[in-house]
Symmetry: C2
Amino acid sequence: MTVMTRDPGGGANLSALRGHNAALVLDLLRTAGEDGISRLELAERTGLTPQAVSKITARLRAEGLAAEAGRRASTGGKPRTVLRLVPAAAHAVGAHLDRDGLTLALADLTGAPVALRHTPLALADGPDPVLATLVAEVRELLAGARAPDGAAPSGVLGAGVAMPGPLDHRRGVPGRVTGAPVWDGFPVREALAARLGLPVTLDKDTNAAALGLALRPGAPRSFAYVHLGTGLGAGLVVGGAPLRGERTGAGELGHQTVQLDGPPCVCGGRGCLEALCLAAVARGDLPGAARILGTGAANLVRLLDIDRVLLGGATVLAAPGVFADGVAAVLAGLRLPTPVEVASAPHAVALGAAHLVLAPVFGLAPPGEPESGRGKPESGPAAGPGDRAVLSSDGRTIG
Amino acid sequence: MTVMTRDPGGGANLSALRGHNAALVLDLLRTAGEDGISRLELAERTGLTPQAVSKITARLRAEGLAAEAGRRASTGGKPRTVLRLVPAAAHAVGAHLDRDGLTLALADLTGAPVALRHTPLALADGPDPVLATLVAEVRELLAGARAPDGAAPSGVLGAGVAMPGPLDHRRGVPGRVTGAPVWDGFPVREALAARLGLPVTLDKDTNAAALGLALRPGAPRSFAYVHLGTGLGAGLVVGGAPLRGERTGAGELGHQTVQLDGPPCVCGGRGCLEALCLAAVARGDLPGAARILGTGAANLVRLLDIDRVLLGGATVLAAPGVFADGVAAVLAGLRLPTPVEVASAPHAVALGAAHLVLAPVFGLAPPGEPESGRGKPESGPAAGPGDRAVLSSDGRTIG
DNA sequence: AGCACTTAAGCAACGCTGTTGCCGAAGTGC
DNA sequence: GCACTTCGGCAACAGCGTTGCTTAAGTGCT
């Protein structure tokens, strides 16, 4: 029952312990949402003593992250006090940097959108103009999201940036972005962090979307977010956390071979799922495309033993019923009981990108940083280890 | 740097903290192997203070799990004292329950085999005769592995059992074992635990093999163990830990569709990798089988972004060069730099099964138990939470 | 040889964690 | 109005890693 999954280089001191439990409680508060949750429920769910939960929630309340919100009905004694997350206690910027446009979201601590922006933009123009636009747009976003009293949004924890792969989320650097070699190896994370004055996290668009979906209350522990738009990709969530692979390459569903002797693909292979599926779409055969997509989804379900398939992307959203039914039919034909749904959340990627920043607050493994490097301890001279100083309320620095 | 990955229901108290750090140190001692590792290196690798490492290693030495073993060369001051794991401090039984035979291994704390046994056996005979044989064989194994002074092997922590899927590692119950419906739903883990008087962990054969490979020193963080024998399956290791999926079904590589319009398969699909690959083997076309297998491996590498492909199983081992070269050629043709190797470890599954018991000692997530159940805290009335009592030296009970 | 210097590892005091035992607060139900 | 139940905070406590200092055990220059 103890369960702190190991992670090489992850010695735990008291500060880490405190942070771990605080994150755990915060996550339960987040999951409880509007309903809230009582101290005793928190104690039951965490396995901690009620007294420990009292101390932890007292700290969270002092930091402004949680607040009391009414009481439950009595069951014969003193009624339980309900605690809730304070959504406005902190915010995160999410940026979806796509081939033809930039979508920005400002999300509160619960991940709910507070402000949104969209600007056309050509990713192929390269880092300089694109990042300049991004920085300017973020500033506009934050300026436009002032509270009625004119105060800037409190506690901006950082910015999450989602863009098409391939890239390396650990180093925060894109690889050969399709059609835009100018991005290759450009240190996006560092450059943006310096210009925004905020911590920046970079991830692949599908991973960000999947993360956002994974953090919704009631989300299944494992699912695949299958995105069919101008391309085909997937975000894999296994055991509640996105599966990124060693080089952020996981989820490359588009170039799965599903036809050994199929037509050659630009990737060097034959019979790639993306090529076959998009070809069907191009000739107007949406049910055929759905069947092919369903085969890819079935492969995913069987290989990873996941609980659900979520479909998204412009092509799917243009005919959601056709794709949902087509994919579900393929799974049913293989006697796989996995439910299929269309994830129609608007701005899913931009909001998911914001979750890149929010997730660590709730104890979900952050995507960035070495994370193991085998031997590199990066013995922290900077600030006390495991401090949750991220959440002290001075994070509104922007310029 | 804090990094204790979250796990719902996983509140951490001091006892858990202690266990976590002890497991971390034990894992580094294990990884260091014969070379050993000094206290200061342990401190650097864990991020803990040298003094904390001193205390932890003192406890481990008191428990008999670690011992001093010589010193390093001086670098201008007092030479570092080398610490090593004591292999004989604890043991684990590993059982590979295959369709036609039972292989047993007794492994020491490092996972090295101390004793081995093999008996022919028909899995299809069902639980009663098979488990009776298993229990008798385990007793023979332990009796035969006495030290020169006649003492039974110290600290038998439990027994790991690996068998063909499908099954549910959480409940410890097989599903519809191919060709043997008598096993369906039989509580193997509970029944064996009661009859052996030992904790029992159940897992799929490929998962066990992959776990064993993952725990070898120098193993890559992520790899796929692809097993081609009478069937085709895979064990997936991602980030150092086996990926089992929600119902132990992950790794079902055999029924990945790689030929949309291929021949029908018993599973209900068409063009399944297993059917195509085995058909090529049956007609003597091993290079063809290797190419097909390579396509399946390439799909894995791309989907999961893993570091290496390990091949195993009787069919592969009968012509290792052909398969290794064939698979590697397919990957190279797709410009995937992933190395391909043949994992020729004998008794890989039985030893991997022993690792099912050993892994938790080193802080790797154990495969059994609810692990999250969303809300079920199973508040532990039994023994103090997180106690490492497993390793107190009275574990030799067998009757 | 002898001395200064460097590095490793243990001892003692300390701060901070969750835990335990107890008590007041705030309801229900007879 | 009183007994009972349940919630949640206060205070004392045990145990964790940390800090400051001391001792052990080498190297290298004089």
